[in-house]
Symmetry: C2
Subunit: 455 residues, 2 copies
């Protein structure tokens, strides 16, 4: 068993500061561990209660007879060193300290006393303080104190997410749920007094459930360690990073936010370049890149074939392809001849290929199939305006089947409003990667190309 | 009455090529003009029918006794010159030719014969051929041949949209409906054989219902005319332009798409600079800019105050503010002191101002109000993570009221998933401009600042 496994796979969990009172942090966390999804055992710790949510409460963790894999501390900050010491003495291997009120508000004395204990008991690993803790979407391990109705948990997926900011992390999880993007594991590590971003990165790089790692970091605790960890893993598994605090103003905000140093952006850019970390410039890129890297096959080159039923979208997408440094594929004469046999003479068989406003499912079938098997094409972008009357909803099945058997990356730009949205959702559920706008789509394909080009 | 008014305010409309058969273009257009919203009279023209949808059909437009304000032609291309000539002889002031099959597919003979007629009868103005025509969301004038269930029509608003591409235009209208963004008037002008982008631009610049104009253009018919029209109006009314065909590849696609020349991007960039047209780099920017420019008061400067309840989002937004050339405001000591009276000591009263994860409605009330009245602040960005348990849904009312009485631009970044989306929609309906991501929000504010700075 790996050292940090207890943070994601505990069989026994003590909630220190468990509460019967809805709205309290210790109540929300108890709710998570008493849900059906979590199959382990939960032990509420609260000196003022006999039982909480039907579970016997203990006055301290020392009173629990069983071995405890994970202790979650959500008591007031002043009490943290005392209850943490009890965890260490009980040899709990993993402790998550949710409580805030340490270096981030300048409380040096409390910070130092906790730090001394962490140093003294190195076998007890600590996530936090001032964090949300961990979430494993596959088994219900969930220390997030935001109730589910306010913050939906994503379904189990293959993308794991490390966030220095709890608020940003939780909002992104919520947004992932809404978009039906699965998450494997999530960790918010707050002040990183012991376990830091590099430890979590290494753990997830070796985690078989995680295909892609996304990170939001403001600063790193140990630059050299982060660099070496990134270098070791970034070419094996896609690691996409959004760095907060890239400007002087942002850096100052970071200092008051998590008490860490943001470091110069030039230094980070060098790290990205030398390690192979994938840089995201904003939140949307972070998850767009994760979607293509977790769900599409490798790109063998940068030649893109665009197939559309709306000329204007073809034009705009061709511009994006060129502007982002990808290339427009030139399909072979043989492929073009095959398509020509089936489509009317006014269909424009170039790149972008314009199936025109009376396109039907058959034209998409023939054109996309020919492009996917053409040796001059590395990737296919199919733009679909579902509005055209000649196109019926079976185009979803056409595209699903083509995507399923394709060994090349293929994405769909689903254009329009509510009617399109229905088709877009259907395609997403069938495993087809969709975008709403050409620029987002092309940027994501570029990230895919670059990851495989550097291998 | 202005010359192009008949395209948007006809009282009598002839649909030449009207059809009883669902799925046909002439059927969809008849459906539009027989809907309750259109209060004028419609005259189907079809030599093979006695009546269509309960209206008497005429064998040709010449047989209609009444004066006709607008004729919509959707017959096969070969018949267009003949029926167009009939329109001219009847002195119809406005004709929309939906039919395709002219210069865009290289049909020179047909193109020339139509062009000769247009020249011969200059009092009959023509939109098209190869277009969707016009839409006036306020009165149901609607020549779009895509049925409403596939392409929802937006509600009446104050943003008008000119699109060279019909497909792109229609998809954007559909997307606007889904997002509840209103549209005043829409025109797709296709091959622009007579009325071109400059004529429509001038018409909408003088249209009292239109506060902001957005354009998608691939090329312009007459560069000098476009330049002069843009220069005349761009500083009076915001005109936001997305140019398709900005790369060599895109330019080639344009040539086969609408048969027009795209022109070099450098030339266009010079036009943007010299005229004050606002450049959008993609579809999302086009409408984000339109939203802020149509709904927010003028920005007096570029100093932004960020107020958040999630530190990470504050950091990322501060970065975006700096990266896009705006500035972080420095609130006066008096304002800070006022806020300090009400909020706990750990609230960070800088910029970004972090109300922290236990923020409540009162903190937003006090902080946003102080920022809006501070003379060192030009604009306010309120970032709201609705997930935090201390915040209840009344924050919508708090923000609505602050926004209503504000004379400074204020926007909200609504962060998260389904729970946030509910609040975001509520705020939008109450007139508050919302964004989901910091970068989109800041780019839009920048467009606002630049428009007013150049005046």
């Amino acid at each position: 068993m790996k050292e940090l496994d207890f943070f994601f796979y505990p069989k026994t969990v003590a909630v220190i500061g468990a509460s019967r009172e809805p709205g309290k942090v210790g109540h929300a966390i108890m709710q998570n561990f008493t849900s059906e999804k979590f199959e382990g055992k939960v032990f509420p710790v609260n000196p003022k209660a006999e039982e909480i949510m039907g579970f016997k409460a203990h006055s301290s963790i020392a009173k629990i007879k069983e071995r405890i894999d994970l202790a979650v501390i959500c008591t007031p900050s002043a009490t943290v060193p005392k209850v943490f010491l009890e965890c260490c003495k009980k040899k709990v291997p993993a402790v998550i300290i949710i409580s805030a009120g340490f270096e981030e508000i300048g409380n040096k004395e409390l910070t130092n006393s906790l730090r001394a204990l962490i140093k003294k008991y190195p076998k007890t690993r600590v996530v936090g303080p001032n964090c949300l803790g961990t979430l494993n979407c596959a088994n219900g391990v969930d220390t997030l104190f935001l109730p589910q109705y306010r913050l939906e948990r994503p379904e189990a997926g293959v993308v794991s997410f490390i966030s220095q900011s709890g608020a940003l992390g939780s909002a992104v999880l919520d947004w992932s749920s809404m978009n039906e993007y699965g998450i494997a594991k999530f960790a918010s590590y707050g002040n990183a007094m012991d376990v830091d971003e590099s430890d979590l990165l290494e753990y997830l790089a070796n985690d078989l459930q995680t295909k892609v790692i996304v990170m939001y970091i403001e600063g790193v605790k140990n630059g050299k360690k982060f660099f070496e960890t990134a270098k070791k893993y970034a070419k094996k598994k896609p690691i996409i990073v959004l760095k907060g605090g890239t400007t002087e103003a942002g850096t100052k905000a970071v200092a008051s936010h998590t008490g860490s140093m943001a470091g110069s952006m030039a230094a980070y850019d060098a790290v990205f370049k030398q390690t192979g970390l994938i840089k995201a410039n904003n939140l949307l890129e972070l998850f767009d890149y994760a979607r293509v890297l977790s769900r599409l096959p490798p790109a063998k080159g940068k030649r893109v074939q665009i197939i559309t039923d709306g000329g204007g979208y073809g034009v705009v997408t061709a511009d994006e392809v060129i502007n982002h440094g990808l290339e427009l594929a030139k399909m072979s004469e043989k492929s073009i001849a095959e398509i020509r046999k089936v489509v009317p003479p006014y269909v424009i068989l170039r790149n972008p290929m314009d199936l025109t406003g009376d396109a039907n499912n058959e034209r998409y079938q023939v054109a996309v199939e020919a492009a996917l098997k053409d040796k001059n094409v590395d990737m296919v972008i199919a733009i679909v305006l579902y509005q055209v009357p000649s196109l019926d909803s079976d185009v979803v099945e056409t595209i699903r089947a083509l995507n399923e058997k394709s060994s090349k990356p293929m994405i769909v730009i689903s254009v329009g409003g509510a009617y399109s949205e229905v088709h877009k959702r259907a395609l997403e559920r069938e495993g087809v990667v969709n975008f709403s706008y050409p620029d987002d789509a092309v940027k994501a394909l570029k990230a895919l190309v670059e990851f495989y080009a550097e291998k």
